[in-house]
Amino acid sequence: MALRRRRRPRPVLSAPVPGGGLPPPSELELGRRAWRRRRARRSTLVALASTLVFAVVAYVAVTSSPGWPRVQATFFSPSAALESLPDIARGLVVNLQVLVVGGLLVLVAGLGTAALRTLRGPAWAPLRILATVYVDLFRGVPLIIVLYLVGFGFPALGLQGVPTSPFVLGTAAIVLVYSAYVAEVFRAGIESVHPSQRAAARSLGLTHRQTMRIVVLPQALRTVTPALLNDFVALQKDVGLISVLGAIDAVRSAQIQVGQTFNFTPYVVAGLLFVLLAVPSARLADAVTARARRRQQSGSLL
């Protein structure tokens, strides 16, 4: 918690007075600033106190509960954590691979689907409808069901050339579902670009595709970056679901150890590792969102 709010320098709205900077603040303004400072200090103190009280109450309630020693031994055993860490970390590498490969494929497939959905004209109707059906379908189905259908259904076909690796099939299922979400994010971004931008581009003689590539998409991307990063954070934890197909990832490694020792600490370890993975992305998403907002509202108060 930040105890003192840092002040970002505000752009000077009025033209600088010749021969001097800002005039010295008046009594009135000084009074207002002092009042705001007092109030900010009081709010901070109240927040700090209530957080402390809550933390203490929660700690006491949990540790004094009758089952706590048992829970501590089964879920928070330091020795079990240390022992399981190497295997889980190795498994996490698999998750990271799915994340990177899947993330890139999702971007491409999502953008492609969004582009199909924005096509106008009767000639494109079949592709447009196909893209719409795809988005509706895969946004509706729970990811775990898609994982089962793709992961167990495809190999069962027995077709030559169909991959059977849970890594590949799991990634495919995740890409199928996330591309549908990301396509909608992209589509919202494309539609947020004002039609006058398109008119300006077309009036210069740019074709539909050139207009899309040079004028619309760059502006759309800027708008949707925060939303995309948010979906990326969600993807980071959902890659753990490929374990249901038998891929030896972080979750599966933890599960194996739990099965051997009947101690649940490995799950906590795996969970913590996922959180550690998500925190930087979440902060990045916050920063990008804040920057976008600042750019839109530069100069205004609210």
Binding site: R202, G205, L206
Partner: protein
Amino acid sequence: MSVLELRGIVKAFGANVVLRGVDLAVDEHRVVALIGGSGSGKSTLLRCASLLETVDDGQVLLDGEDVTDPRADADRVRRRMGVVFQAYNLFPHLSVLDNVTLAPTVVHGRSRSEAAEEARALLDRIGLGDKAAEYPDRLSGGQQQRVAIVRALAVRPRVLLLDEVTSALDPELVGEVLALVREVAAQGMTIVMATHEMGFARQVADTVAFLDGGVLLESGPPAQVLGEPQHPRTRQFLRRVIDAGRL
């Protein structure tokens, strides 16, 4: 032969018929000012002429070629016209220089250095050479609109269509934009402009055309249309403009 000729243009948006058969011929090096109240169809006529809207009937001829023929390549036709919009419509994610060089490089295939050199020369001439690397949101409305005019000129159009280019500007910025339009006209550019600036139309236009309810009621030299309007609707419109202190 006229550079741009509109024949019986009809345009409707749903049940709302905006243009009811408009004829207008614009000869080379001439300036035509379209006047009329809001909703009279001025902007729609320009959007039809620049093929940003599909006409519901009638023809647009550019250098005698029927460009409303569905077999005509609209993208190729638009390259030969320049359009400037009321709200400037500069590309906010591109620098001033890139806004101007975009069409010459991407559409006309000119080399980047050549296009940039030409763009810089144009920007220098309108006194915005030092803004070439800036982004549009750092410019005043008047500066943005002048860049938009330069952007339209950079494709060396046969005709320049100006859609109320000063209507979104603060009064003190109108002058700099009109000065540029005047200069462009003096250099012989063929121009069709929708405008509320009657004084400017009187000075610069060769022809003033009065649109009312989607019909071209009256057109002729400015002294005639603005000085001795024949049609009662024109007289009524001009009286309102005078009452509002705009003439």
